[in-house]
Subunit: 257 residues, 2 copies
Amino acid sequence: MLDGLFQSAPSARVRPSVSLERTQFAALPDEERRELESAAMPAYDVRSNTDVLREGDTTDQLYVMVEGWACRYKTMRDGSRQIIGLMVPGDVANLDALLFGRPGYGVRVFGAARVVAIPCDGVLALAERHGRIAKLLMRMALVENGILGQWALCLGRQSAQQRLAHLLCELDIRLADAEDGAGGFVLPLTQEQLADTLGLTPVHVNRTIQQLRALGMVVISNRTVTLPDLPALRNMAEFTPGYLHTGRAKPDRARTD
Amino acid sequence: MLDGLFQSAPSARVRPSVSLERTQFAALPDEERRELESAAMPAYDVRSNTDVLREGDTTDQLYVMVEGWACRYKTMRDGSRQIIGLMVPGDVANLDALLFGRPGYGVRVFGAARVVAIPCDGVLALAERHGRIAKLLMRMALVENGILGQWALCLGRQSAQQRLAHLLCELDIRLADAEDGAGGFVLPLTQEQLADTLGLTPVHVNRTIQQLRALGMVVISNRTVTLPDLPALRNMAEFTPGYLHTGRAKPDRARTD
DNA sequence: CGGTTCGTTGAGGCCCATCAATCTATGTGG
DNA sequence: CCACATAGATTGATGGGCCTCAACGAACCG
């Protein structure tokens, strides 16, 4: 083991530069964001389909998705799973770790991903000193709340077609930042994972995708989603973006003009 | 009007004494709770089944249920409704008003209720000064998050029986404070409102109640719920109270011993 | 080329929705 | 005190959306 050779003087605290510039924390003034960054642990890669956090684990760190997607999920005795939250690049995976040690859900990554862990006590200390950080954390919690409320409506009262359509409309907006502008986006979920999100079976998700394609509203090919008729899709899903509280409510532009 | 006779010097700021003592804010030190109380508007009664907040309204006040129950709900074009949150006495109805003006849901009261409205700017100012208040608000948001996540699991992956059983288990714990100790509680929801909570139809809720009664797990009579075999009920619902983050995790005590 | 993962298709069945009617309890006015 | 109205609970019959089971196809990979 040669590791010791490369260690600098013990007091130097050299941290591999962690950047939160492309995350939800980008809304903060540079100064405060940098304080968060210096509280963070080094970023690390996570292999596709592995758990950042297992169900039942405890943790005292916040996990930030600097690259890639993840989900929160819960499992039942018979093995059936429900995804209770999707995290796109820039999102925080387990906000509740700030106040509760035991999440009660697992966090799993889709595709290759890169994660930054920030110790909760550090975040809490910063939140105490900077009202803006506290407010941003509160905001993230409240947005998650809005999303989960909408998911409850979808799961409780919508058909399979509507649910799928609604999810795609939601992701289309949440990805607005990262999107390549072409009106399509990459969706790194398998149909089985979509099923676990929508409360359906993989088989039925497959059939539902075909129905939406037949209607000319959705094209999914090679993990890439295109929404040729967004207004119609939004209409059938009864989608209104208000609950996402994303500043600019991207317009209904029809077929990429 | 003789009121004037009892007014003390004009500087005294006499407000009809609003008490948050029996609400979620009871966790605060008296001093800080009193500051919130003096920011609050006078409590007022709400008639059964009326809206504190209508879908699509905007608001700049927090509504606290000092007495009675309420729900958050969303409606679809065809009139079908989904309840996306139940508030029991002491709960805050619309936390997200703190940061967002338009809730995107309605708030409706069950049975007679008494509500205290607190202007959001007042609450935010206090949260800025007292870290404990900010933390309590965050805590409430995160608990709501946990509950909604659990509801997503129920709506997505559980049978009607399990969903109903799970809801009753949850309420049994959330009402632990107000409960009369007899192991039963008053549930001021009609079967139709239960259906809107569970993502079912009223007819099927009725049949499901009867199934649980036949199993000896639930007795509902006259708006009063009794759970004769709580361990069995929790087992069938796969209920674990962790997600409620209620300090004392009330034990599984079988049939009121 | 065999193995694995993911997607696709078909047949059959069940849970829950739908529609409709009846019953009960409560309240209201004549 | 009774006729009537209304809200909520209950029961039955029927149907459909989604599940289940099973098999096959396609893409990727060591």
